[in-house]
Symmetry: C2
């Protein structure tokens, strides 16, 4: 008997039938003798509909008013879920972000949680109520309504679990857990029983959409035990905690990939020391996210390459072009149609040969590596997009992640 925080995303609460289903999952947890706090997102397409309404009135809407608008989405869900729970004979109470004491910094659209005042939630739990909290939203010191940005409901759930010292935080979603790689692309992909925070953080950052990196970071910092599982199927999901279990203790735990990557190369900079930081602070000022950066100094010309999302390529090139005089470079080249393929695993720290093995496998598969970036527990490579799945399959096989080989 303990406290469990459950989080259900937009797809899981997308219709009144699905809300009924969620209510049943909540009641099961309660019937098992646990206190339950439920965090929900806006119903399915609600957010998109509200955004399109706003666009009809203002093409460049203020973030404050968008927060005001979009937070109605979760408020609708919390009341509907509470009504469903009440209809099934359970005592439930809904709370908006501000009622739940979710304090954030003074920023609209992407605020960070600063503090959670849990008095009210704790009081309701003491009264044996199921507490249903609106995800994604918070309130500033000045009583301004804020939102937590993409994946915000995950963060709400994890932050509440931390503040309430919950036994665990279950993230219900439309997949059954975290996989060694994306099962839509690789047949042998296998669900992991467990994974460490650091590995999950790398995977989340590398494009595995199942959990938002910020939520994982929060979970790691406060040691919140997470489980990612399906809202429709009963099977256990993947547990995310400090150390993964032995049975999953492989050298490489997962393979992430992402397409629509472009490489930009700035050639012939007069003064590297001055120019390099200038380029990246210029791009940051324009909110362009640069991923992998590779610097090469040859005898001939100095050059720096970096990867961006292809959708941001044109803007990147314009920004660089506009500042050509200031930055004093010779020319900019770019290449489209690239992908990023990454291997992640805590075991790499003590196994220096993993990167080498990765390059070997890719070479054997005739996959050209365009860029490389490493951390203690991951190696990312940029490859040609058409080779992406081939690369992932070869790596999945080599690092013994495939179902048949490892069993389970």
């Amino acid at each position: 008997m303990g406290l469990v925080v459950q989080k259900f995303g937009g797809t899981s609460v997308g219709s009144s039938e699905r809300i009924q289903n969620v209510a049943n999952r909540v009641i099961e947890e309660k019937a098992a003798g646990n206190d339950v706090v439920v965090v929900v997102s806006a119903m399915g397409k609600t957010t998109d509909e509200l955004v399109s309404l706003s666009k009809e009135l203002n093409e460049n809407p203020s973030k404050r008013e968008m927060d005001m608008l979009l937070t109605t989405g979760e408020q609708i869900t919390i009341s509907l879920l509470s009504l469903a729970l009440q209809a099934k004979g359970h005592d439930a109470v809904s709370l908006t972000g501000w009622q739940a004491g979710m304090k954030t910094e003074e920023v609209h659209g992407n605020a960070r949680i600063t503090n959670i005042e849990t008095v009210r939630i704790k009081q309701y739990l003491k009264e044996n109520k199921i507490v249903v909290v609106a995800g994604f939203q918070g309130i500033t010191e000045n009583n301004e309504i804020t939102t937590l940005g993409r994946g915000g409901s995950d963060t709400t759930a994890v932050a509440l679990a931390a503040a309430l010292e919950a036994e665990k935080c279950d993230i219900y979603t439309d997949v059954t857990g975290v996989y060694t790689t994306d099962p839509r692309y690789v047949k042998g992909a296998r669900k992991l029983n467990s994974i460490s925070y650091d590995e999950m953080l790398e995977l989340a950052n590398l494009g595995a959409g199942v959990l938002h990196p910020r939520a994982v970071e929060f979970a790691k910092n406060y040691e919140v035990k997470l489980e990612v599982r399906s809202s429709l199927e009963k099977e256990r999901g993947t547990i995310i905690k400090e150390e993964a279990e032995m049975e999953d203790n492989l050298l490489v735990r997962g393979i992430a990939f992402e397409d629509n990557i472009s490489r930009v190369t700035v050639i012939g900079m007069e003064d590297d020391i001055y120019t390099l930081p200038s380029i990246f602070s210029l791009l940051a000022k324009h909110h362009i996210n640069v991923d992998i950066i590779v610097q090469s100094v040859t005898s001939a010309k100095s050059a720096v390459s970096f990867s961006v999302k292809t959708e941001e390529l044109q803007r990147t090139l314009s920004v660089l072009e506009a500042q050509k005089r200031n930055l004093q470079y010779e020319e900019v080249e770019h290449e489209n149609g690239l992908s990023k393929v990454s291997i992640v695993g805590s075991g790499m720290v003590s196994n220096p040969g993993v990167a080498a093995k990765m390059f070997e496998v890719l070479q054997d598969s005739k996959v050209q590596v365009k860029m490389v970036s490493t951390s203690e527990i991951k190696v990312s490579t940029v490859v040609v997009q058409k080779d992406m799945v081939k690369a992932v399959e070869a790596l999945h096989e080599t690092f013994e992640l495939t179902n048949e080989r490892v069993g389970k």
Copy 2:
């Protein structure tokens, strides 16, 4: 140059085009040099849609969760209207009921305003912002979200106008003002330039749907100058204030009517003094609204008749039947297919012959009067439903309300 509170109902903000139109009306008022506070309702059918969603999950929803659900409607409108105003180059800011300091009693579904903390609105006005406030909603001492019940947005607007000492409060709606009677039924119906609070209160209570009685009561108590006018047409509407203007100073100012009335008669009560209060406290306990009450004591049997809405007749009869033993009466009769026709005017106070004249007119028109109820400024009669329009037309003519006769 002063402060104007404008209120726009659900039809006026029913689409993004209509919100654009509302934004223009707000900007006109601002451009005339006034500070502007705008109160809005939920968009057109939003409330109905949310109610039907809730019914899918819970047939007997808790009022607390319905308040949580329905208050999202106005929150959507305030942000959209603010976005529209901003797109047109105006500095606007939206506030939910709780952000606007709208404090209410601890009741869900039908709370009364206890106090308005205007600090935040005043600060924004000082910054020359247009303030857009969510109607219909408030907050209790315990930070519970409440709603003000039917016509609640009118009440929000009037209460804000009172608290902010506004110069006037304009209620924008889909009609051009308050009429001598319903123009959909009576051709000669004429828009009034002005009407007193008391007269408006009677008309509102008698079924003239243009303004909610509670809002009128509030306006009267705090002497808020109201104007009811069209959100689509430019013409002046009807001003509601302490004393009506001379040109409108007729004996009878308006004729209200309402159909689907039933009469219930309880016959042969053993002990009137005990039974009469028991009947009406019993019905009140079951939330049945009794309107006109007529008691008759003949030599034969004592009886009491009262009118209820026909939709509440079956419930009324069941409640009485269940308590027959307790109440000790002989039998209950009822009659359906009735209507209420009322004349309203402050001038009646000093003209005792008005009721007599009304009966005379009805008799001349062969309209049988089933029940009568009077106050200082109104006379209500219950007549057979098929005679309703005929009665209204005859009274409208007799009391010189018709266009042709009075001119304007």
